[in-house]
């Protein structure tokens, strides 16, 4: 099972990873975007961490929704609505739950991904965060089918995200500011796919051994 504390530990770990990688994410965004991805995500997740301590009851759904609404209110850019929608929708799928089975986590993740796809309108191969999240979902589903432990399943999920992230390098962007570059966007790793990989790698790190 994935507990309420596990979920909060995951969000905190990701917030720390965003801070640690703030300059790197911004550098990736300088190459093909507008040089603010790390800065914006760090501002948002700093606000999120400030909210986590004040949460009233161990409700995973409510906690994830708070993460999402805080991101929408503080990040701006495209990342604010996209990551905000991801967490809000994910939270909406597990309202009132204090612990999640791997299957429930997978379903919640898919609901969050659905929110990202709906408002971002990106398709696989557009060189966006979706290119990390979809292979991650597929890897998680395959791991569940294999009867993997939480730790193994999330590690495979993070590995899927990593492969998807690396696979964005040769792609030509078709969404977001990078799309304005056309062919010149090829050869650069997508910043959104990179932060999405960090999101799932953070989960794999804090849930190791489960």
């Amino acid at each position: 099972m994935i507990s309420y504390d596990d979920i909060l530990a995951w969000v905190r770990r990701f917030a720390a990873a965003v801070t640690a990688n703030k300059a790197y994410l911004t550098e990736l965004d300088s190459a093909i975007g507008d040089a603010d991805h790390g800065i914006n995500m760090d501002r948002g997740f700093t606000a999120v961490v400030g909210k986590l301590d004040g949460l009233a009851s161990p409700d995973i759904g409510a906690a994830l929704k708070t993460v999402g609404t805080t991101l929408v209110s503080t990040v701006g850019g495209a990342s604010g609505p996209l990551y905000g929608m991801f967490f809000m929708q994910m939270g909406g799928a597990v309202t009132g739950k204090e612990a999640l089975t791997l299957e429930e986590f997978a379903t919640a993740f898919e609901t969050g991904l659905g929110g990202v796809l709906r408002i971002g309108k990106a398709e696989p191969g557009d060189k966006t965060m979706v290119d990390a999240l979809i292979p991650a979902r597929d890897a998680l589903r395959a791991a569940i089918a294999d009867g993997a432990s939480v730790s193994d399943a999330i590690t495979r999920m993070a590995d899927g995200a990593e492969q998807g992230m690396l696979a964005t390098v040769p792609l030509v962007a078709r969404k977001g500011r990078a799309s304005y570059l056309g062919e010149r966007s090829a050869g650069h790793q997508d910043p959104g796919a990179t932060s999405s990989h960090l999101l799932l790698r953070s989960a794999a790190e804090v849930w190791a051994g489960r």
Partner: protein, 332 residues
Amino acid sequence: MKKLINAPESVVDDELAGVAAAHADLVRVIEPNVVVRADAPKKGKVGVISGGGSGHEPMHGGFVGMGMLDAACPGAVFTSPVPDQMLAATKAVDGGAGVLHIVKNYTGDIMNFELAAEMARAEGIEVTSVVIADDVAVKDSLYTAGRRGVGGTVLAEKIVGAAAEAGADLATVTALCQKVQDNVRSMGMALTSCTVPAAGKPTFELGDDEMEIGIGIHGEPGRTRMKLASAAEITAMLATPILDDLPFKAGDKVLAFVNGMGGTPLIELYVIFNELKKILDARGITIARNLIGNYITSLEMAGCSITLLRLDDELTKHWDAPVHTPGLRWGR
């Protein structure tokens, strides 16, 4: 990085405090970072708001006032504002006649404005949106996020603001904004990069003898990088794609807007305007109105953009109408 700032995190807040202190007769700044016309809301008047990342001053906050915007929502530098800001702005300027959102075509701006419009409608405020997408440097196809909103936004805000000031209803104001969008085209170039305060180093590198043609207003690299050319050649490189796109034809009257990116002196902008006049004269196109200066900037980037708006009597009338904002003032 050499900038006149206290700290990268406080640039926008410090600037807004300065704006509020300097222009208290025209605007006030409310939480969460919204510049609102001092006399808003005006009963029965359509509200016109816009917003976008900071770093493009005087756009948008400098265009709040009589005859232009009712409110502006500045985000972090080069980052779309958040929905809370547009919702607060919409509520602050709603005089019961509805509110128009003028949105520049960037993925983040579109999403954040959409969320805000949904929230405002849920609170019973009638909201319409027009997306400005005038940058011909971007191939407008299924394979991009579409054309960027650039210089045409300034002209739209002035013209639409005048109509709202004159008492036009929401449908008329919205249609007028769309008319500006349908008749305006722009393209820009950079001689140097710019530095986002929080990033601390230039967004891109450009050699001493190089320039970037087709640059966006956020330091997004353009479409081609080449050796520096003369003002006449650069003007032709920007004007030709603009003219061919609409297309502008002999006999057209236009508003010619030569905009500085923030780090280019007026002396150079007038050199560009002179070259532009020659090109338009040769094509039989009349410059009926002009605007020359730094109005939609990209921090300290050196470079310029050219915007052409095909005028008719309605657009000309609203362009000429009085305006009194921190960044644009005439007629009173």
